[in-house]
């Protein structure tokens, strides 16, 4: 008998999908303006560019290029959940549709370079009474490009 998969849920609803199939990558929950075509993350009701109220909910692939990044050596206030020994990475990632998002990074500082391709993955932040609480992190794919 295979083990029953542990239930997984996002740390906060409304930001990304947690597919039933653990092999599948998460999708980012965004918005596209029906009037001017601008994309946004996270979701919003009114277009920030043309202020149209005609907007659609879209799922965006979790991939993009690294605009900037850092490794933080301060603990989050009250947090014991993230590893701080070598700092934890956070980055700003440009999605091909236009939005610039902020996300934790997976990997060591030496693996990151401005302009490189990244892809998002789900990671377990903590166990909440038998349910895995999931976050999205981005890690490098392929070669850094200029």
């Amino acid at each position: 008998m295979p083990d029953t998969p542990r239930p997984r849920q996002p740390i906060k609803p409304g930001f990304f999908t947690v597919p039933d199939d653990p092999a599948q990558a998460p999708k980012l929950l965004g918005t596209r303006c029906d009037t001017c075509g601008e994309y946004f993350y996270p979701r919003r009701a009114v277009c920030a560019k043309c202020m149209s109220r005609k907007t659609s909910e879209v799922e965006l692939d979790a991939r993009g290029t690294l605009y900037s990044y850092t490794f933080v050596h301060l603990p989050l206030f009250g947090s014991t959940n993230m590893e701080h020994a070598d700092g934890y990475g956070v980055g700003q990632i440009d999605l091909p549709e236009g939005p610039r998002i902020q996300s934790p990074l997976a990997g060591k500082q030496a693996e990151f370079k401005v302009g490189q391709a990244l892809e998002g993955e789900l990671a377990v932040l903590r166990d909440d009474g038998g349910t895995d609480i999931m976050i999205v992190r981005f890690r490098p794919v392929g070669e850094a490009r200029q």
Binding site: P42, A48, T70, G78
Partner: protein, 388 residues
């Protein structure tokens, strides 16, 4: 619209006092100091604006009772780091419009209490809050290094300048006992790469106060003393551009500082070359570097060259910046921070800044100063102060 002057300023030294000092205690020192400086009593005050971020509800109205109970309107103003600046702007607008002749602007906060109680806006449960301010501004630095070849040494030089300015400011939280070198700044421990501890503002407490009134009152109350006028004021929020970041308690696009500074230059009929000194929101040193260019003190891409020349030091070739130590050394408790900039600029324009006094190349006292603050969310608030 009437001309508006800074009638008086006062401060309680910034510091990490924890339970040692209450907001009321610090506010009394700052507020009574400002009233004395103006030559007024609380009975002369027509309205009060209290700026605090972290203190609980009612704090502003309750603390104002320490000065007296005269029935005047008391209004709390909050706009993150720009709280004190935003409160000053409300007083400026009200006096300018003729609603009041004398308005008191009081800023106070105890960031040490906020940290201890764990009621920060940053909680591990909020994924978007994984980006702390230090991390956010560190990403400005990483990007700048990528685009312009900026070195950590450039950042360290700015921090060293601010520490050494702060050493001459009795109100500064960080009082360097020796001359601070860039090497010491670089070796002070990493906060968020490439920003070190000495490139980041400290956590602290404090209070600051400005009394705002008409120019006529300023002349009458303190005859013979230079009158310091507020000649321009702006508060702007973000404008959307592609690449705007919507997550987290961030500080907005670079364009905010460009647009806001252009607005005050236009209001006052001046340009960046007319500035004798500038106070900026240097919560992290990379900000000060960017603001040199965004406020027009030098051209885009030239900041590093001028930093190497010491152009932004007191007596430097371009314009003295963060003369009181800035947020890095003077400190950044929250509510009072923007008013500490007003305190500093007012003293400088009057020629009362002692060992850190800015002078023009011909030896004259400075005439025009800028106070620039950013508030998370985000807003940019700028005031121009001019000696009449």
């Amino acid at each position: 619209m009437r001309e508006v002057a800074i009638l008086g300023v006062g401060m309680h030294p910034f510091g990490a006092y924890y339970s040692g000092k209450s907001n009321a205690e610090m506010s009394l020192v700052a507020g009574l100091g400002a009233l004395d400086d103006a030559g007024l009593t609380f009975a002369d005050v027509n309205a009060a604006y209290a700026g605090h971020i972290f203190a609980t509800v009612m704090s502003g109205t309750r603390i104002m009772k320490e000065f007296g109970l005269t029935g005047i309107p008391v209004q709390r103003i909050e706009n993150a780091s720009a709280t004190g600046s935003a409160a000053l702007r409300e007083a400026y607008l009200a006096v300018s419009a003729g609603h009041y002749d004398v308005a008191m602007v009081l800023g106070f906060d105890k960031m040490t209490t906020m940290i201890q109680s764990g009621t920060a806006g940053t909680a591990p449960e909020n994924m978007e809050d994984a980006i702390l301010p230090a991390g956010f501004f560190a990403m400005w630095a990483t990007r700048r290094m990528h685009e312009r070849g900026t070195k950590p040494e450039h950042l360290a030089r700015i921090a060293a300048k601010n520490f050494n300015n702060g050493a001459h400011n009795p109100m500064a939280q960080r009082q360097a006992k020796e001359h601070i070198t860039p090497e010491k700044v670089l070796a002070s421990g990493m906060v968020a790469w490439p920003l070190t501890r000495m490139m980041s503002c400290p956590i602290g407490d404090g209070a600051a106060c400005a009394i705002v009134g008409t120019v006529e009152m300023a002349k009458k109350l303190r005859p013979g003393r230079p009158v310091v006028k507020i000649v321009a004021s702006t508060l702007q929020s973000e404008r959307y551009e592609r690449g705007h970041i919507f997550q987290g308690p961030v500080v907005g696009p670079a364009r905010m500082s460009v647009d806001s500074s252009n607005a005050v230059y236009e209001q006052a009929g001046v340009g960046p070359k007319d500035l004798d000194m500038v106070q900026v929101h240097d919560a992290f040193v990379i900000e000060e570097l960017e603001y040199y260019e965004l406020l027009g003190l030098c051209k885009t891409g030239e900041a590093e060259k001028y930093i190497e020349e010491g152009a932004f030091e007191i007596g430097g070739s371009l314009c003295a910046v963060s003369t009181d130590g800035g947020l890095i050394a003077r400190g950044h408790p929250g509510g009072p921070t923007g008013l500490a900039q007003i305190w500093e600029t007012t003293l400088q324009l009057r020629g009362e800044a002692d060992k850190r006094q800015v002078r023009r190349k011909n030896g004259d006292l400075p005439r025009l100063g800028m106070c620039h603050m950013m508030g998370g969310g985000s807003v940019c608030v700028i005031h121009l102060l001019q000696r009449a």
